[in-house]
C-alpha cells in the first residue's frame, strides 16, 4: 500500500531530522561554555603563549619573563616554581620547603586542573569526532518539500488529460450542433411545404411551430412534424455519434460507425392497409428480423434478394407476402433505392408495429402489445463519422422518398386474396399468443377469484354485528350454490351435445 510507504517515509524523515539536530544543539551549547573558560585567561595574557607544561598559567609574563625562560630551559622536568624562591631558599629553608611542598601540592593540583581544563575545553570537539567516523547519510528531501514542480509529473499528466477531455467536449458538441443545423437548413423548406406543424416540444400551450430542432442530448436532436394528409405525424431523430465524449471518439477509432437519421411516421388506421414489409441492407435485415416483434412474427422467411426488382446485391427484402413486395417496389421506389443504396440502412412498413421484442421477465405479457401503423426509415449519413455540414444536403432526396412513400402507402391496397391471407396471418398470430399465455391467464383468473373470496370472507368476519354477519354468510352461501348449479347444468348440456 502506497499510503503505508508514505507514512514510513515521513516518519523516517522526522527521526533523521531529530538525529541531525542533536549534535548541532550540543555544539551550540559547548561553544559558549568553552568561550567562557578562555575568558579567564584573557586578562593581559596572550593565548598564543600558552604552553602545555604545568607552569603555563603561573608564569608571570609581564615581570619575570627572561628569568622564567631561563629557568624553563634548565628545568625540563616539572619542578617547583622557580620564581622568587631562589632568594628565599637561603633564608627560610623550611619555608621554602614548605613552600616547595605547598607548591608541589599546588602544582600537584594544577596539572589536574590543567588537564581538566584542557579536556573540558575540547570536550565538544572530542564528542563530535566519533560522529564523523559514522557513515554520512545523505537524505533525499521529500518531494513535496522540494521547490520543483517536476516531481508532480503524474498530476500534471492527469490535469492535461482532463483539459484534453474538456477541449474535445466543446469541439464535439459544436460539431454536432453545426451538423444538426445544416441538416435542418437543407430540409426546412421541404418540411414546411408538407407539414403544418414543424417543430414542437410538447410544452407550449398552443400548437405553434417552433421551427427549431429539439435538443435531447449533446448528440441527439428531435423534430416533430404534423398536420398533413395521410399521416398523423412524423418524428425525425438525428442520432449523431458521441463526438463530445473522448472515450467514444477513441473507441470509434477501433470500430467505425456513422451518424444516423431515424424517421418514424405514424399513420391513422385508414391510411394504411394491413401488411408488413421491410427492405434494407442484409445485416440490418437480419438484425431486425430477430429484434422486431412484428417482423419476427409475420415475415418468417429469410431476407430475400431484391435482384428481381433490380436492386443491388447488398439490399434484402423481408415481406409478408409476394404481393406486398410487388406493390411496394414500384419503379420510382426502385429508382430511389438504387441511387441512394449506400445511405439506406433500413426501411420498415408495418401495420402491427409494436417496437422491439420485449425481454420476457417473469412470463410472457398477458396482453398483446399495442400496435400502431408505422413507417420507419433509418438512413446513414455519408462520411462514416467524418461528416461535414455539406454532406447533409445529400440526404434531401431521401426525405423526398419518405414523403413519396407516405402517399404511396395510403394509396396501396391489397387485392382480395392478399387481404384474406393477411387477415388469416393476423388471426394466427393472435391465437398463438393466446395459447402461449393461456396457462398464465388461467392462473391469473384463479388468483383473482381466490382474492375475491378471501376479501368477502374477511368482510364477513370483520362485521361486528352478529345479525349482519349471519345475513352476509347466508348470501354468500346462496351465491355459491347458484354457481354450482350452473356448472352442473353446463356439464349436462355438454354431455347431451356430445351424445
Amino acid at each position: 500500500m502506497s499510503w503505508v510507504q508514505d507514512w514510513t517515509a515521513h516518519s523516517q524523515y522526522l527521526v533523521m531530522r531529530l538525529v541531525l539536530t542533536l549534535p548541532t544543539l550540543l555544539l551550540l551549547l559547548v561553544v559558549p561554555a568553552s568561550c567562557g573558560r578562555y575568558d579567564d585567561f584573557d586578562d593581559g595574557e596572550d593565548l598564543a603563549e600558552f604552553d602545555d607544561n604545568d607552569f603555563a598559567e603561573f608564569e608571570d609574563m609581564s615581570e619575570d619573563r627572561a628569568l622564567e625562560e631561563e629557568e624553563e630551559e634548565e628545568d625540563s622536568t616539572p619542578s617547583p616554581r622557580p620564581t622568587a624562591s631562589v632568594g628565599d631558599e637561603e633564608d627560610d629553608e623550611a619555608v621554602v620547603e614548605l613552600e616547595d611542598s605547598h607548591d608541589d601540592f599546588e602544582d600537584a593540583e594544577t596539572p589536574d586542573e590543567d588537564i581538566k581544563y584542557d579536556t573540558e575545553e575540547f570536550e565538544g570537539f572530542e564528542k563530535s569526532n566519533p560522529s564523523s567516523k559514522d557513515p554520512i547519510n545523505i537524505l533525499t528531501v521529500p518531494a513535496h518539500l522540494q521547490n520543483s514542480w517536476e516531481s508532480y509529473y503524474m498530476e500534471i499528466l492527469m490535469v492535461t488529460g482532463l483539459l484534453a477531455y474538456i477541449m474535445n467536449y466543446i469541439i464535439g458538441k459544436n460539431k454536432n450542433h453545426r451538423l444538426a443545423q445544416a441538416w435542418f437548413n437543407s430540409h426546412r423548406e421541404l418540411l414546411e411545404s408538407n407539414f403544418a406543424l414543424v417543430g414542437d416540444d410538447g410544452t407550449s400551450m398552443e400548437a405553434v411551430s417552433t421551427g427549431k430542432l429539439n435538443q435531447e442530448n449533446e448528440h441527439i436532436y428531435n423534430l416533430w412534424c404534423s398536420g398533413r394528409v395521410c399521416c398523423e405525424g412524423m418524428l425525425i431523430q438525428l442520432k449523431f455519434l458521441k463526438r463530445q465524449d473522448l472515450l467514444n471518439v477513441l473507441a470509434r477509432m477501433m470500430r467505425p460507425a456513422c451518424d444516423q437519421v431515424q424517421i418514424k411516421v405514424t399513420l391513422n388506421d385508414e391510411d394504411m392497409d394491413t401488411f408488413v414489409f421491410a427492405v434494407g441492407n442484409r445485416k440490418a435485415m437480419a438484425r431486425l428480423q430477430k429484434e422486431m416483434q412484428d417482423l419476427s412474427e409475420f415475415c418468417s422467411d429469410k431476407p430475400k434478394s431484391g435482384a428481381k426488382y433490380g436492386l443491388p446485391e447488398f439490399l434484402a427484402i423481408l415481406s409478408e407476402m409476394g404481393e406486398v413486395s410487388d406493390g411496394m417496389m414500384d419503379s420510382k421506389m426502385v429508382h430511389y433505392l438504387i441511387n441512394h443504396a449506400d445511405k439506406i440502412e433500413s426501411i420498415h412498413y408495418s401495420d402491427q408495429f409494436s417496437g422491439p421484442k420485449l425481454m420476457q421477465e417473469e412470463g410472457q405479457p398477458l396482453k398483446l402489445p399495442e400496435t400502431k401503423k408505422t413507417l420507419l426509415f433509418t438512413f446513414n449519413v455519408p462520411g462514416m463519422g467524418n461528416t461535414s455540414p455539406k454532406d447533409m444536403d445529400t440526404l434531401l432526396p431521401l426525405m423526398n422518398m419518405v414523403i413519396y412513400s407516405i402517399d404511396k402507402v395510403k394509396k396501396f391496397r391489397l387485392n382480395r386474396e392478399g387481404k384474406l391471407k393477411a387477415d388469416k396471418n393476423r388471426a394466427r398470430v393472435e391465437e398463438n399468443f393466446l395459447k402461449q399465455t393461456h396457462a398464465q391467464r388461467q392462473e391469473a383468473a384463479q388468483t383473482r377469484r381466490e382474492e375475491k373470496k378471501r376479501a368477502e370472507k374477511e368482510r364477513i368476519m370483520n362485521e361486528e354485528d352478529p345479525e349482519r354477519q349471519r345475513r352476509l354468510e347466508e348470501a354468500a352461501q346462496r351465491r355459491e350454490q347458484k354457481k354450482l348449479e350452473k356448472k352442473q347444468m353446463k356439464m349436462k348440456q355438454i354431455k347431451v351435445k356430445a351424445m
Binding site: S2, W3, D6, A9, P142, A143, H144, S151, Y152, Y153, M154, E155, M158, G161, L162, Y165, I166, Y169, L190, S193, N194, F195, A196, L197, D200, D201, G202, A207, N214, Q215, E216, N217, E218, W224, S226, G227, R228, V229, C230, E232, G233, L235, K242, Q244, D245, L246, L247, G355, P356, L358, M359, N400, I403, Y404, D407, K410
Partner: protein
C-alpha cells in the same frame, strides 16, 4: 410531392401534439452510460477518501466528467454537480493529507 395535384398536403386540422416517447419506451433501450459512470465515480471517490489513494480520486474525477458528457438533457443537474463535487473533494483531501506526488506503478 403532394398527394393531390397542385394542392397543399398540409392540414391544419390534423395537427397532433408531440408526446415525448420516454414514458413508453423500454428503459433498456436508453443508453446506460451516464448512470454507470455516476455510480463508478461515487465508488472511486469513496475509495479515494477512505483509503487515501490518490489515483482513485483522479479516476473519480474522470468518471464524473464522462457521466456529464453523456448525460441526457432531462437528467437532474443536481446529481451531476454532486458527483462532480464529491470527486473534486476526494482529490483535494487526498492531497491535503499527503502532499507527496503520486508515484507511477512502474
Amino acid at each position: 410531392m403532394s398527394s393531390n395535384s397542385m394542392s397543399d398536403p398540409r392540414r391544419q386540422n390534423k395537427i397532433l401534439r408531440y408526446k415525448p416517447p420516454s414514458s413508453d419506451s423500454n428503459p433498456a433501450m436508453e443508453d446506460p452510460t451516464p448512470d454507470y459512470m455516476n455510480l463508478l465515480g461515487m465508488i472511486f471517490s469513496m475509495c479515494g477518501l477512505m483509503l487515501k489513494l490518490k489515483w482513485c480520486a483522479w479516476i473519480a474525477v474522470y468518471c464524473s466528467f464522462i457521466s456529464f458528457a453523456n448525460s441526457r438533457s432531462s437528467e437532474d443537474t443536481k446529481q451531476m454537480m454532486s458527483s462532480f463535487m464529491l470527486s473534486i473533494s476526494a482529490v483535494v483531501m487526498s492531497y491535503l493529507q499527503n502532499p507527496q506526488p503520486m508515484s507511477p506503478p512502474w
